[in-house]
C-alpha cells in the first residue's frame, strides 16, 4: 500500500475516533442534568443505582413520585419499595418501565396509578424525554420510544441525544459542567420530596367531556401490564392517588373498577378515601391540591402500607441486616432533608 494511501486511512481513522470521543463529551455536556431545576427529570435514571431488591414497585406519573414515600413504607412496615415515575408518564411508558424492572428483579406487588389512562395518544415531547432519556438501552426503551413519540420527534434522537439537545449550546450553565460526569441523587427510591405548603382554596370547576370512554390504547396497555405481572407472578394493584386536580371523573373510575373486578385485581381510589387517610388539604399539599407534600405523602404511605401488609400479605424485611443497613442510610438522608423543612404541624 502506498504511503499516501496509508496516511489517508490513518487520518480518517484518527478523525473518526476524535469525532466519536468529542461526540460523547458533547452529549454529556448538552444533555439536561435536571439537578437544580426540574429534578423530576433525573428520577428515572436513579433506579440503576439501586443495590437491593424491592417488594413493591410503583409506576405512574407525578401522582406516585410525589404522593408516596418508600421511606415511610420501610420505617413503618419494613416494606422495600421503589417508585419509577416521571412527569406526565403515559401508560405505555409505565408499561415499558415495568417491563424493564421485572427483567431485573422479582417484586411481590406492582402498583400502578391510573390517572394516565386519560391520555390515549402521545402528548408532550419534553415529558417523553424525562420518562425515556433516563432508561438504559434495551428492548423496553426502544418500545417506550416507539410508543411515545409525538409527530415532531425522531427515534434517532433517543439513540443520539445530542441530535435533540445540540441547541442548548447557547444556554449551557455551570450545572452542565458540574454534572458533566456525575449526578446527585434527587429522590428517595424514586420519591421526590416536596416540603412546601399551599392549601386548597377552591375546588376545580367540573368540565364535562364529550366522551368518557377510556381510550382503547390505554385499556390495551392495562392488559399488557396485567399480563406481564401474571407472567412474572406479581400482584398488580391499581390505585388512584388523592389529587384534587387533574379531575378524575366518576365514569373513568367506574371503568377502572370494573376492569379490576373483572380481572380480580385490587383497585384503591385514594381520592375517595382522603378523609379516611387523614389528608388535610389545608396542610398536606404543596400546590393547592395537585400533589401532596411530604407530610401528606407520609400519611398516604402509612395508610397504604397497612393495606399492603394486611390485605396483600407483604411482610417486614427489617430482620434482614443487609437491607436494614442500606435503608438506614436512605432514611438518614431523608430525615436530614425533611429536618430542613418548616412543618405545618
Amino acid at each position: 500500500m502506498e504511503v499516501a494511501v496509508k496516511k489517508r486511512i490513518l487520518s480518517g481513522v484518527c478523525a473518526t475516533v476524535a469525532v466519536i470521543v468529542i461526540w460523547q463529551l458533547l452529549t454529556a455536556l448538552m444533555t439536561p442534568k435536571y439537578m437544580t431545576s426540574i429534578p423530576e427529570g433525573a428520577l428515572i435514571a436513579e433506579y440503576y443505582e439501586e443495590t437491593s431488591p424491592h417488594q413493591v414497585l410503583f409506576v405512574g406519573d407525578c401522582e406516585v413520585y410525589e404522593n408516596f414515600s418508600p421511606i415511610t413504607l420501610w420505617e413503618e412496615y419494613g416494606i422495600t419499595s421503589y417508585i419509577r415515575g416521571s412527569a406526565q408518564q403515559l401508560i405505555w411508558q409505565s408499561y415499558y418501565l415495568l417491563d424493564e424492572m421485572l427483567r431485573r428483579e422479582s417484586p411481590e406487588a406492582v402498583v400502578f396509578n391510573v390517572l394516565s389512562v386519560k391520555y390515549g395518544t402521545p402528548q408532550n415531547e419534553a415529558y417523553n424525554r424525562m420518562s425515556i432519556d433516563g432508561m438504559r438501552w434495551s428492548s423496553s426503551k426502544w418500545g417506550a420510544v416507539q410508543a411515545s413519540m409525538t409527530e415532531e420527534e425522531d427515534a434517532i434522537t433517543y439513540l443520539f441525544p445530542l441530535l435533540r439537545y445540540h441547541s442548548r449550546w447557547n444556554e449551557l450553565s455551570g450545572e452542565d459542567i458540574t454534572y458533566l460526569f456525575r449526578r446527585d441523587r434527587v429522590g428517595y427510591n424514586g420519591y421526590l420530596m416536596q416540603t412546601g405548603v399551599r392549601p386548597v382554596t377552591s375546588q376545580p370547576p367540573w368540565v364535562p367531556l364529550e366522551d368518557y370512554t377510556v381510550p382503547q390504547t390505554c385499556m390495551d396497555y392495562l392488559d399488557k401490564m396485567r399480563e406481564i405481572c401474571e407472567h412474572y407472578g406479581v400482584e398488580l394493584i391499581l390505585i388512584k392517588a388523592p389529587s384534587i386536580y387533574p379531575l378524575w371523573y366518576e365514569e373513568w373510575d367506574a371503568q377502572i373498577a370494573a376492569y379490576a373486578e373483572a380481572h380480580g385485581l385490587a383497585y384503591y381510589n385514594f381520592l375517595a378515601m382522603s378523609e379516611e387517610i387523614g389528608i388535610d388539604w389545608e396542610r398536606d399539599t404543596y400546590d393547592a391540591g395537585l400533589h401532596l407534600n411530604v407530610w401528606g405523602a407520609e400519611k398516604l404511605s402509612t395508610y397504604f402500607g397497612k393495606l399492603l401488609t394486611e390485605k396483600h400479605g407483604l411482610t417486614s424485611q427489617k430482620n434482614d441486616a443487609v437491607l436494614s443497613g442500606i435503608w438506614a442510610e436512605k432514611c438518614a438522608a431523608y430525615a436530614a432533608e425533611k429536618a430542613n423543612a418548616v412543618s405545618p404541624y
Partner: protein, 530 residues
C-alpha cells in the same frame, strides 16, 4: 423526504452503498428505483404527473427520431431519383411534421405545468377583473396538486425534446433510461436543470468505485448541510419573524431583511445544490454547476451568468434566442429599422425578447404578481445597464485605473448584490405595493438605532446566535473565495490530515450549531417550491 431529514440521510447512505455493490450494468436501474421511491414518498399522486411528462416526452422524442431516420432512409433511397428541390421540399415537409409533434409535446407538458401551477393565479386575476367590472359572482379558485419539482423536470424534459428536434441529441431508445433522466432524484428537488447530452449518458453508464469521487462528493454534501443548517435555517428564524407582520417592520428592518434574505437564499440554494451535486459526484455523476460565486458579480448581467446558471442558460437557449430570431421578430426588426433608424431598430427585437424572457423567468419562479414584477425589474436593470454602456465607457476612459482596482470591483459587487437583494425581497414580502412602500421606508423611517438597542434580539435569535450567524456567513464566503483558483477540496486533497480534520470539524459544527430538530422549524429548501 426532505434533504435535511434523517430519513434522507439513511436513504442516501443506503443508495450509495448499494450503488457500488451493484454490478455496473445495473447501477442505473438502482438509481431509477431510488428516484421513483423518493418521488413516491413525496406524494404517490405526484408520480402520475411525472410519468405523464416522461412518457409523453419519450414518445414524442422517439417519434421525431424515427421520422428523422425514415427521412434519411428515403433521401438515401431517392438520391438518384429526386432533384435537389424535391429533396429540399421533402425535408421541409418532414421537419414541419416533426415541429408539429414538438409543439404537441411542448403544449401538453407546459400545459400541464400551467394548469397545475398557474390556474389558481389566473382565476384569482379573472376574479379581480370581474370584481372591478362590478360582477358579484366570482369563479371558485380550484385547489390543484402541485407535484414536487414540476418546474424543474418539465423544463429538463422540454430541453431534451427541443434538442432532439434540433438534432443536437438522438432520442433515448430505452424508456426506463429516459425515465431516469426525468426523475433522477437528487436534482428533482431544486435543479440544476440538466441537459440530456450532459446527464443522460452519465446516468446510465456504470461507475467503478472511486475513493476520490466518494470523498469529494461527500465533502461537498457536508458543506451543503453546513450552509443550509447552520446559516440558511438560522437566518430563516429572523426572516420569518420579520414576515410575521411585514408592515410593522420598516426602515432598518427592511434593510436587514434584504441582507439576511440575500445570505439565506444563497446559503439555502447553493447548499441544496452542493448536496445534489455532491451526492451525484459520490456516484461518479457530474452535474452541471449552478453557481459561480454570484456575490462577485460586478453587474446584473454578470450576476445572472453566475446565479442559477442552468435556469439562465435554459431561458437563453430555448426562449431568448428563438424569440430573437423568429420570423415575426425579424419582420419587426426590419420594420423598425426602416421607420426608426438602425440604432432603435436593432434594439427592438432584442429588448422584446429580453422582456418576454424575464417575464417568463418571473412566472417560472411562482404564480404571483410579485414574481412577475421581480422578473421585469431584473429585466429593467439589465436593459438600463445596457443603455448606460456608453456612459460607463466614457467614465472609465476618464478614470482608467478604476477598472483595475480591486476596491472598485468590490464596490461594484456590493452594489450588484445589494440591488439584487432589494429586488429579491419581492419574493418574500409577496405583496407588490407593500414591498414598494417598505423599500421607501428605508429612507423615511430612521429606526437604525434598533440595531444597537437590543431590539433585534427580539426577532428569534439571541446574541450568541447572531454572532454565530455572522461568523458562519463570513466563513462561507471566505471558503468560496479561497476556492477561486483551485477547488478547496483539491487543496485539502494534498493534505490528508487537514482534510480529515476539516471534515470532522465541519461535521461537528453542523451537529452542534445546525438549526435542526425540535425547537427549529425544519424548513424546505426555498427552490423546492418552484
Amino acid at each position: 423526504m426532505l434533504f435535511t431529514s434523517y430519513e434522507f440521510l439513511l436513504f442516501a447512505a443506503l443508495l450509495l452503498v448499494g450503488y457500488y455493490l451493484f454490478p455496473r450494468a445495473w447501477q442505473w436501474r438502482l438509481l431509477l428505483v431510488a428516484s421513483l421511491v423518493f418521488y413516491w414518498l413525496a406524494g404517490p399522486r405526484y408520480l402520475i404527473f411525472l410519468l405523464l411528462t416522461a412518457s409523453s416526452t419519450y414518445a414524442v422524442g422517439r417519434w421525431m427520431d424515427a421520422n428523422l431516420r425514415a427521412q434519411e432512409t428515403t433521401l438515401t433511397e431517392q438520391r438518384q431519383a429526386w432533384e435537389k428541390e424535391q429533396r429540399k421540399s421533402f425535408k421541409a415537409r418532414e421537419k414541419k411534421k416533426r415541429f408539429r409533434m414538438l409543439l404537441l409535446g411542448l403544449i401538453f407538458n407546459f400545459g400541464m405545468l400551467a394548469v397545475l401551477k398557474y390556474t389558481g393565479f389566473a382565476v384569482h386575476n379573472v376574479n379581480r377583473l370581474l370584481h372591478a367590472f362590478g360582477a358579484e359572482n366570482t369563479l371558485n379558485i380550484p385547489s390543484l396538486l402541485l407535484p414536487m419539482g414540476i418546474s424543474f423536470y418539465t423544463f429538463q424534459s422540454m430541453s431534451y425534446l427541443i434538442d432532439v428536434y434540433r438534432e443536437k441529441v438522438s432520442a433515448e431508445r430505452h424508456p426506463l433510461k429516459f425515465l431516469l433522466f426525468v426523475s433522477y432524484f437528487p436534482q428533482l428537488v431544486q435543479g440544476p436543470i440538466s441537459r440530456y447530452a450532459d446527464l443522460g449518458p452519465q446516468l446510465t453508464a456504470g461507475h467503478a468505485f472511486s475513493s476520490r469521487n466518494v470523498r469529494w462528493g461527500l465533502e461537498r454534501v457536508l458543506w451543503g448541510y453546513f450552509k443550509k443548517l447552520v446559516i440558511a435555517d438560522r437566518a430563516l428564524i429572523v426572516i420569518k419573524a420579520l414576515l410575521d407582520e411585514p408592515a410593522s417592520y420598516r426602515g432598518m428592518y427592511v434593510l436587514m431583511m434584504i441582507l439576511l434574505y440575500t445570505v439565506q437564499i444563497y446559503a439555502d440554494f447553493t447548499g441544496g445544490i452542493d448536496i445534489t451535486v455532491g451526492l451525484s459526484e459520490a456516484m461518479g455523476i457530474r452535474l452541471t454547476e449552478n453557481f459561480n460565486r454570484p456575490f462577485l458579480s460586478r453587474s446584473t448581467k454578470e450576476y445572472w451568468n453566475r446565479w442559477h446558471i442552468t435556469m439562465g442558460t435554459w431561458f437563453t437557449d430555448y426562449v431568448f434566442y428563438p424569440l430573437s430570431v423568429c420570423k415575426p421578430m425579424q419582420r419587426l426588426s426590419k420594420f423598425s429599422r426602416q421607420h426608426f433608424g438602425n440604432a432603435v431598430g436593432k434594439r427592438i427585437p432584442v429588448y422584446l425578447a429580453t422582456v418576454a424572457t424575464w417575464f417568463l423567468t418571473g412566472l417560472w419562479h411562482g404564480a404571483g404578481w410579485n414574481f412577475i414584477v421581480w422578473g421585469l425589474l431584473n429585466c429593467l436593470v439589465i436593459l438600463v445597464s445596457q443603455e448606460c454602456v456608453p456612459l460607463y465607457t466614457r467614465f472609465y476612459r476618464r478614470f482608467p485605473r478604476l477598472n483595475e482596482s480591486a476596491v472598485w470591483h468590490g464596490v461594484q459587487a456590493a452594489r450588484t448584490v445589494l440591488l439584487m437583494g432589494v429586488i429579491r425581497t419581492l419574493d418574500c414580502y409577496r405583496d407588490v405595493p407593500l414591498t414598494f412602500r417598505l423599500w421607501g421606508s428605508m429612507f423615511t423611517t430612521f429606526n437604525y438605532g434598533d440595531l444597537f438597542n437590543g431590539a433585534v434580539l427580539d426577532l428569534g435569535l439571541g446574541r450568541a446566535d447572531w454572532i454565530l450567524l455572522l461568523i458562519a456567513t463570513a466563513v462561507m464566503f471566505a471558503v468560496s473565495l479561497w476556492g477561486i483558483r483551485e477547488p478547496v477540496r483539491a487543496k485539502l486533497d494534498r493534505h490528508p490530515t487537514a482534510e480529515a480534520s476539516a471534515v470532522a470539524l465541519v461535521f461537528l459544527l453542523i451537529m452542534i450549531f445546525g438549526a435542526y430538530g425540535i425547537g427549529f422549524d425544519a424548513s424546505q429548501f426555498i427552490y423546492n417550491q418552484f
